[in-house]
Symmetry: C2
Subunit: 307 residues, 2 copies
């Protein structure tokens, strides 16, 4: 355990589960408010956007935005918008990844995927529109410092595109049936999952008071390790958890002959790797002292999650 985790708790502070629920509630309310209502023309598209985004998921990326925002005493309103923007990008990627021409999946968050519930054309437009909405929200909100806001927009756009999440998905498609070595697998995941998780952490850190250069460097190191950790745990769960627990099709990476940390390292070594990554991630937070408590708790949650 990190020394940070051993410090006495502030009695006025929410427990981690209560904090998590409060962030999830806040995120849900902000998302529901930010998206056009189902009645707004075109109704079918707006209904499908809401279907794909609301009522679902652990909201790990929004939790990371809020936890990082505690480092800078950021205002909840700003964190909620930044968290929504990241989650909209994540939601769009799930809708597109599930399409028949990609992963062809029918189950997501325990419900039919968007193209199954609606149709492929609508799902395509849902993803496209959710991506636009992410940038619309981030550009519209007043974050106080417009130059820092432009930096946030740039960071999120770069993390989403061909040198980030979409690029990782492209490498993933090309890797099916191939045997990647660990550096290749890490590059794929650094883009596919890591880039957006890193963006979530950094966006939270860009709200509120400015961090020092040293703090930004440390936060970026944490963000990269947290992204990798999340993926390793995801790979472990894909081969150990059930479809019912995950709310999405389990074992599909193995079935699709996709390289994972489990196929590369075996289950035991993958678990050891995730424990090491957790330690390394938490070490980078020492510079923030008690301000990093939520990030430490969240790192533990990411490591120990069962779904």
């Amino acid at each position: 355990m990190s020394t940070l985790s051993l410090q006495p708790a502030n009695p006025h502070r929410l427990s981690f589960p209560d904090w998590m629920f409060s962030v999830q509630d806040r995120l849900e309310a902000t998302l529901a408010h930010c998206m056009p209502p189902s009645e707004a023309i075109p109704g079918r598209l707006h209904q499908a956007m809401r279907y794909a985004t609301l009522n679902g998921g652990k909201r790990v990326r929004p939790l990371l935005v809020f936890a990082a925002g505690e480092l800078t005493d950021a205002a909840t309103e700003q964190l909620a918008i930044a968290a929504c923007a990241v989650e909209l990008i994540h939601s769009y990627s799930l809708v597109h990844d599930d399409l028949p021409c990609m992963d062809d999946d029918v189950l997501r968050r325990g419900r039919p995927t968007c193209h199954v519930e609606y149709d492929q054309a609508t799902a395509l437009l849902v993803g496209d529109s959710l991506q636009s909405l992410a940038f619309e929200l981030l550009a519209r909100e007043d974050f106080g410092d417009p130059r820092r806001q432009l930096e946030m927009l740039h960071l999120l756009a770069r993390a989403s595109g061909s040198c980030g999440m979409a690029g990782g998905q492209s490498i993933d498609l090309e890797a099916v049936g191939k045997r990647l070595n660990q550096p290749e697998l890490e590059l794929m995941h650094a883009l596919k999952t890591g880039a957006l998780i890193r963006a979530a952490v950094l966006l939270g850190g860009l709200c509120g008071k400015a961090l020092t250069v040293a703090e930004r460097v440390s936060l970026d190191r944490f963000a990269k390790r947290a992204g990798l950790l999340f993926q390793v745990v995801d790979d472990i769960l894909d081969c150990t958890a059930s479809t019912a627990t995950l709310g999405k099709t389990a074992g599909k990476d193995a079935a699709a002959e996709k390289p994972t940390y489990v196929t590369l390292l075996g289950l035991d070594r993958a678990r050891k790797f995730s424990a090491d990554l957790r330690e390394q991630a938490i070490e980078t937070l020492v510079i923030f002292d008690v301000r990093a408590r939520r990030l430490v708790e969240l790192t533990d949650f990411i490591t120990q999650r069962k779904f």
Copy 2:
């Protein structure tokens, strides 16, 4: 003819065709420079992004950005980035619209569409990545006034999403085989084509010196009429020009039983409507006097184009 068109030409000024070619060249060079090189990992995705974006199109939206930029004496570098951002959004929409689950088209700009040349999954990621890149570029460039830059980002994002271009495409999908009246058809096109054309004009007007409120109102009126004009001419061309001339499949709206201005009004009245729209669009530019010359010329080009 508008009175503006009758004013004597400045002998140091490029002719309209020369100006158009110079903007198209500049846009091509900036796009080529802004997109990741084909060698950059993931290579297949980056090659496909370049395939879908370079060497093609009339670049009407970039021309509108540059023409509107003459109202504000905007710097060419800034206009080029704004024009790239708009064109990347347009290019992404073409790639996604051509997919089998949407319009299922095989020909674009005289070449196989992106999913035919590559594959559907790659084309999906190309569109997604081009959209991200548009916002990345617009957030990265220094436009001098960061608040105005945030306004540009907001405008482009809103024009792209479910209350703009993607929303128009959704209405279009739902309208197949239906008989729309003129207000319904205008709403569809105001979103599907008009929103991005309007954004192109306003983005150009947001670069450079600030416009007065009255000028912004006039420019917005022009932008909306230009968008509608573009679509009416597009509908006329779809039923009068050949596939070879258009570089895309001709007559496909009629074949798909899509409502168009020609099916609604008949060819003669659609032509009359386009002439009226041209007049109305140019009238709104009087406030700008000679600064609007390029916009007037471009409006004439849009009206008279044969492809």
